[in-house]
């Protein structure tokens, strides 16, 4: 079994009968172990919802989600989070303001059963390019890029195989984005990680991924390789529109 992630005919809903939103409609995709897979499409197209369904943040779903060959049920156990971790877009919202970097990382490690916490915190900080000086800082003492490094360190703490990245650099300056994207590439190589990355920026997805799914109105229109995308070999006209809009932003 060499698929890290397999999704078949996934439907995801929000709300209830009164106002039911069918956010993802019969979506299917397969991400090979060690691959980096992108999800692109305009806002509201269902990209984040796919990641949320995987991590258990969108409980109303049907269809099949398999992680490393094992189908997921309604609940996610500790073991799941040892395999799959997520990094969110907004580094300002994703860290608790009253928790120091040390607390965030120590607690996560403790929760996952590690006991050599001191060494691991130091190692994690080093892995994400933050020196030991950052260990006892609080979020308000960190820049956006530094916060995102902490969020990545926290995601790496349980030693996952798969990282789900939801617009991880959209809130950052391009110079900081470059540092974070380089860091993510290095980490993927060093730890043999599989990435699923959502971005509204096609250039970012093309830089980071080898394949991407194009979404619109909750549906996956097509899955294509980045090489095909670069060569303009698209099966669906919407992909063409998306490519054109990104290349020439001033319509």
């Amino acid at each position: 079994m060499n698929a890290a992630l397999e999704i078949n005919a996934l439907n995801v809903y929000f709300g209830d009968h009164g106002a039911l939103v069918h956010a993802v409609k019969s979506a299917s995709l397969t991400v090979a172990k060690g691959a980096s897979f992108g999800l692109v499409g305009e806002s509201g197209s269902g990209k984040s919802t796919i990641l949320k369904a995987i991590t258990g943040l969108a409980p109303q779903w049907n269809g099949e989600i398999k992680v490393e060959g094992r189908p997921l049920g309604a609940k996610r156990d500790r073991n799941f989070y040892k395999t799959v971790q997520m990094v969110f877009q907004d580094p300002y919202a994703s860290l608790h303001p009253r928790q120091s970097v040390d607390q965030v990382l120590s607690e996560t490690l403790y929760l996952h059963g590690f006991r050599d916490i001191d060494d691991r915190v130091n190692q994690l900080l080093q892995d994400v390019g933050l020196g030991p000086a950052f260990r006892f800082r609080y979020p308000h003492q960190l820049s956006g890029g530094q916060r995102q490094r902490v969020a990545i360190a926290r995601a790496l703490a349980p030693q996952p195989d798969i990282l789900l990245l939801d617009e991880p650099t959209s809130a950052l300056d391009v110079s900081v984005q470059a540092e974070i994207l380089n860091l993510l590439s290095d980490l993927r190589a060093a730890h043999g990680l599989t990435f699923v990355m959502v971005s509204h920026d096609l250039a970012v997805v093309a830089h980071m991924c080898d394949q991407a799914a194009v979404m619109q109105h909750g549906e996956i229109l097509e899955v294509l390789s980045i090489d095909a995308m670069r060569a303009g070999q698209t099966a669906h006209p919407y992909t063409r529109t998306l490519l054109d809009a990104s290349a020439n932003r001033v319509a």
């Binding site: 305009e42 806002s43 956006g144 300056d173 391009v174 110079s175 984005q177 470059a178 540092e179 994207l181 380089n182 590439s185 509204h200 920026d201 096609l202 250039a203 970012v204 093309a206 830089h207 980071m208 670069r230 529109t241 998306l242 809009a245 990104s246 290349a247 020439n248 932003r249 001033v250 319509a251």
Partner: protein
């Protein structure tokens, strides 16, 4: 090109516990009937520059300049009352997040009507007609329905277009747009940009377009000021931004992933302390 606005030696200062923080440090530039871009990283002073022109820096911030001349008249010498007229009639500003700029408990129609009646002596019916026209001018397809809606019922793209409609009511000579499309999808971005473009071309408006997006500014604007640490480090024609010389500008461009030119690693900006100390470059034509 006729100069609408001329700014000489503008400073924006904030007293803090650790002394005075200079957010904008002596910038000088002019604006004609053109699309002038201001780019730079977050914190470089773009928004404070835009707000300072309208004297919209909140207490305890301080604006100082040798002059901020609108048609040769120094805005710094005006009373607050006269400034309100300038803001209502001559210079408008669109903020980054329309949700904070529109009144959440008033329908969009009522806000547009009120804006128009503040500016011109008009009957309610005339103001309503004008409001509908403005919504049409910003390519809102169903203006009657939008008139009766509340801001939270609008998507980001609609909200931003409504903000622009609101800013257009007084027919300003100058529009300062602070990251007006940053929260929008590329497809909607194009629509908002073409609205602003029309205003510059058809009404001869001057536009200050603040953005952190270098590619967008190079495609959309005529001229670009590049800001770093409260100063202008480089000025160039927008369509030649990719030939920019300053290592900061080059570094920003190099850090962008390119769809058409893949490479294994992105360049990381190496900051040089001397960039901060070099005198601000003059942004006049």
């Amino acid at each position: 090109m006729s100069t609408l606005l001329d700014i000489e030696n503008l400073w924006v200062r904030f007293p803090t516990r650790n002394g005075i923080f200079d957010a904008v440090r002596g910038v000088s530039f002019s604006l004609g009937r053109e699309r002038l871009g201001i780019v730079g990283e977050s914190g470089s002073g773009k928004s404070m520059t835009g707000r300072a022109i309208l004297r919209l820096i909140r207490h305890p911030g301080i604006v100082e300049a040798d002059h901020i001349n609108l048609h040769g008249e120094n805005l710094l010498a005006k009373s607050e009352r006269d400034m309100r007229k300038v803001r209502g009639e001559q210079i408008s500003m669109v903020m980054q997040d329309p949700k904070f700029s529109l009144n959440p408990v008033m329908t969009i129609g009522d806000q547009l009507i009120e804006a128009h009646r503040l500016h011109a002596k008009a009957t309610k019916a005339e103001a309503r007609k004008k409001a509908l026209e403005m919504l049409e001018a910003v390519s809102i397809r169903d203006p009657e329905r939008v008139m009766g809606a509340y801001p939270h019922e609008m998507s980001g793209g609609m909200g931003q277009r409504i903000m622009i409609a609101m800013m257009l009511i007084p027919n300003p000579e100058i529009l300062i747009a602070d990251e007006p499309t940053s929260a929008l999808d590329v497809s909607v971005q194009g629509q908002v940009l073409s609205i602003m473009d029309r205003l510059v071309k058809e009404r001869g408006m001057g536009l200050i377009f603040i953005s952190h997006d270098l590619n967008l500014v190079s495609q959309f604007c005529d001229r670009v000021l590049i800001m770093y640490a409260g100063r202008i480090v480089e000025v160039c024609d927008a369509n030649r931004l990719h030939e920019a010389q300053h290592p900061y500008t080059r570094g920003l461009l190099g850090s962008l992933p390119r769809f058409d030119a893949p490479r294994p690693r992105l360049e990381v900006l190496q900051r040089d302390p001397s960039w901060r100390d070099a005198p601000s470059v003059e942004g006049r034509t």
